[in-house]
Symmetry: C2
Subunit: 189 residues, 2 copies
């Protein structure tokens, strides 16, 4: 079993992390898993102050879902996904996820050291490159900063970038990407 | 047979178009295939003045390769890919393409009307979202404009955008994305 089996490549892999909150409910958040050797079981993730980080600290377990759903990325950026979005709760698997992985996770400074301990490929896929999807991912990076920043100039700059990506999604994306931007635009108004 | 079978979704699908030059050699270029209904066989592509456009005008045939290879996208943006890059020449299929499609293509104004007439899925895939790959695609949009523009201010603006995406690819990408940027940066120096 190695990271590559589940869709991870060298570099930063944007996935939906699922951890368990103290009350047993599921926490979902998009995070980047940093992989140096995808033929190994070892990775890292930078975890900012967040529920994901608290849960990893307590549980030492983090699940990852490899998924291509712009709306799910947008929703999970701002809230926990409810049970309706999952096709399985144990292990936690979002509908249409391509694979899930279970990581043993140990915090070390700003990072978590991750070790792949279980996982499954659920479905393989064929899709052409879509700039609309990419635009959602880029806009989310800016939008999640936007909502925590106070500096009005920085916020204006981020908003401009987000609107630039909105144009790309409008032109190149599907309904999923357009729905994702509805969620994003609500957060920056 | 419908577009969705080969990885096309509604919106603009970035693929490598393959057409035949007058001397029988293969022309390769990344283009966007515009799909309104992926359960149909009908699509469109905007074709600017290019060898692709000339070949489509003469042959009325265009092949599409659905592929996720940043280096191939970068190379094909600036030159025709040599035979070594193909795993089949008839139909023309690049190594590691997920699928190929054959379109009947009729020019109409700035666009070509496309009708899917043949195609095959070669392999399905599982991969996590990678911002480095996306950055290559965005940078190529700007780089292909950069090389034809004369206005120094516009060129400077495009170069800034390209360097912004280079940073993302450096941080998030694999070797493939880094190689792609070597090709791109050579063109904007």
């Amino acid at each position: 079993m190695k990271l590559a089996d589940f869709g991870f490549v060298e570099g930063i892999n944007e996935i939906i992390a699922v951890t368990r909150n103290e009350d047993g409910s599921l926490n979902t958040a998009p995070i980047g898993i940093i992989v140096e050797d995808c033929n190994s079981t070892l990775a890292r993730a930078r975890l900012f102050r967040s529920h994901t980080r608290e849960n990893v600290k307590r549980d030492k377990i983090m699940y990852a879902n490899v998924i291509w759903d712009a709306e799910i990325f947008a929703l999970a950026s701002f809230q926990d996904l409810e049970q309706d979005y999952f096709e399985s709760l144990e292990p936690p698997v979002l509908k249409n996820a391509l694979s899930w992985c279970k990581f043993r996770a140990i915090l070390r400074g700003a990072y978590a050291d991750l070790e792949l301990v279980d996982g499954k490929v659920l479905r393989k896929d064929i899709r052409a490159v879509n700039r609309g999807f990419n635009a959602v991912i880029e806009a989310l990076i800016h939008a999640t900063r936007y909502v925590i920043l106070k500096d009005e100039n920085k916020k204006r700059e981020l908003k401009e970038r987000i609107l630039y990506y909105h144009e790309i999604a409008r032109k190149c994306g599907r309904d999923k990407e357009k729905k994702a931007f509805e969620i994003i635009l609500e957060k920056i108004h």
